[in-house]
Amino acid sequence: MYKYDNYDQEMVDTRVAEFRDQTRRRLEGKMTEDQFKPLRLQNGLYLQLHAYMLRVAVPYGTLNSTQMHALADIADKYDRGYGHFTTRQNIQYNWIKLEEAPDLLADLAKVEMHAIQTSGNCIRNISSDQYAGAAADELVDPRPYAELLRQWSSFHPEFLHLPRKFKICVIASDTDRAAMRLHDIGIQIVKNDAGEIGCAFYVGGGMGRTPMIAPLIREFVPLDQLITYSEACLRVYNRYGRRDNKYKARIKILVHEMGKDEYARQVEEEFAHLLEQGIEPPLAELERIKTYFQDPEFKTGLTDKADRSDENFARWVDSNCMPHKTPGYVAVTISLKPVGGIPGDASTEQMHVMADLAKEYSFDECRVTHAQNIVLPHVEIGRLNELYGKLAEAGLATANIDHIGDIIACPGLDYCSLANARSIPVAQKISQRFAENGKGETLGQLKLKISGCINACGHHHAGHIGILGVDKKGTENYQLLLGGSEAEDTSLAKITGPGFDEAGIVDAVEKAADVYLAQREDGERFLDTYRRIGMDPFKEALYA
């Protein structure tokens, strides 16, 4: 994985010094909170319900064991012994003190990490496929392109005061595991008819209060124009994105109101102009970055069979292991969704365990997924039994990836100052319900996603089943949505009808699941059945 050189290290160190000075000026009264807030946000520091919250960037979701250990140490030293992995492949801490935040950032910098631009109206952490470099179906490893974009977008002087936040995702396979088309810019690395590698640009997707699927803006941008084209996309947005209404300020609204063809035309005009400005790093820079993403030294002649005699182990393999491009290996997903647990939370001890296992079993690498789990990308099939045993000991062997218990949930009203309703207790009750009634496994792939407010951090629009928490005259109420998908068959979920209280929403999810079980045809997932039979049968069951 990528290693900082002296320049990269100097940039994050300088950033720590800058934030230390900004914090000093705030505490000395030289800055108002209104002036300080955007600065702390661009260093990942929010003020939430109970305390400051710090969001640490995990660029394209990739971590080594030293970094994972450091994240665990930070949870102990500056927080209350745990962290929360997020839907943008980052980690956040809930109990941070402003006065200690500069020291925390300095600790992060020691392991080549930072919290730069994890919030605020700027280009955020670049997300990617959690199986990058491991997936059998990828064209190339997308991460070097993401790293190139990371450096370009970090401290970009023109784009630190955008109309709104800006999220970029890079993938390199037709299977979308990163919700690419639900980003402000989604980039798919593709091969053109001439066999050259380049980038397809999808612009103007997003969830939030006005969910939209990004349209294709340009089919092919040559690799040596990637940064220039991105800059053109951003400049058109910075100049014309709406600033009169924060709810209409995302690029999806601009692309929608302007029309994708007109937006694309303006980008082309800006692009032609910028091509003459020489702002593109040479391909040699991309090549330099690529050297850090070469395959580890995979062994050959490995067994492709694990001992499946233990039923629990076999079930775990079937749900948590993903085919690898190299024979004898799999990518293992560690579920952070134990039955009744808090989705995405990991304790200090669990982080240390995952770091150790990444070192021992996966060439010192792990990944954070947008579904709030952790991946060990390169594990020998022959060592799976051993790994499973160690995960089980740490309470990390839940076998439920992409099943109904593998719920994405935002922090909700338990932590978040924007939330209208709690998300986590609903997730806990649903995972318990389906563990108790035994239907969880029978249901197969069923992606359930819960947001505690319309901002949709819990991706409810993209859930096969989505739940949106709202405030109904001072009490928590939950709307049910069906039919969303964040994958290559991207679709937006639709509301079933009137909302439910907390107990009611758990029952409603079970009723919806029962409709599927009764009506499914061979090989159909919940989503397929919904698409075939439509909303009506579900409504009948829910509101009869």
Binding site: L27, G29, E33, L47, Q48, L49, H50, A51, Y52, R80, N94, W95, I96, K97, L98, E99, I342, L413, D414, Y415, S417, A419, R422, I424, P425, Q428, G474, T475, E476
Partner: protein, 99 residues
């Protein structure tokens, strides 16, 4: 009654205006009547509180203060999904108070 709340500037922890200063306990909150704006402006300027605002609340006969909105009740207690991290880790029934 009208009470004042915010977060401590340095630690970010939830605080309630008790008439003299800021307390972590909602039951210490006092009715500020129509003084809210004056007190908040002064306290913000002195950097003794951050992100402060006034809310409606009631006080029962036992002196317990209950903020009108669930969000402020969550703030007053702590995350309901981590009773161990709330202000009342030994009183699981406190969670019912939030709802």
């Amino acid at each position: 009654m009208k009470i004042l709340t915010g977060n401590d500037l340095l630690t970010g922890l939830v605080t309630w205006w008790d008439g003299q200063g800021w307390s972590p306990h909602v039951d210490d909150a006092v009715d500020v009547g129509d003084e809210a704006e004056t007190i908040l402006a002064r306290e913000e300027a002195a950097r003794r509180v951050n992100a402060s605002y006034a809310i409606e609340a009631t006080r029962d006969e036992a002196g317990k203060v209950r903020p009108a909105h669930i969000k402020d009740r969550v703030r007053a207690l702590g995350p309901t999904v981590r009773p161990d991290l709330t202000l009342k880790p030994a009183e699981p029934e406190a969670l019912n108070w939030v709802i």
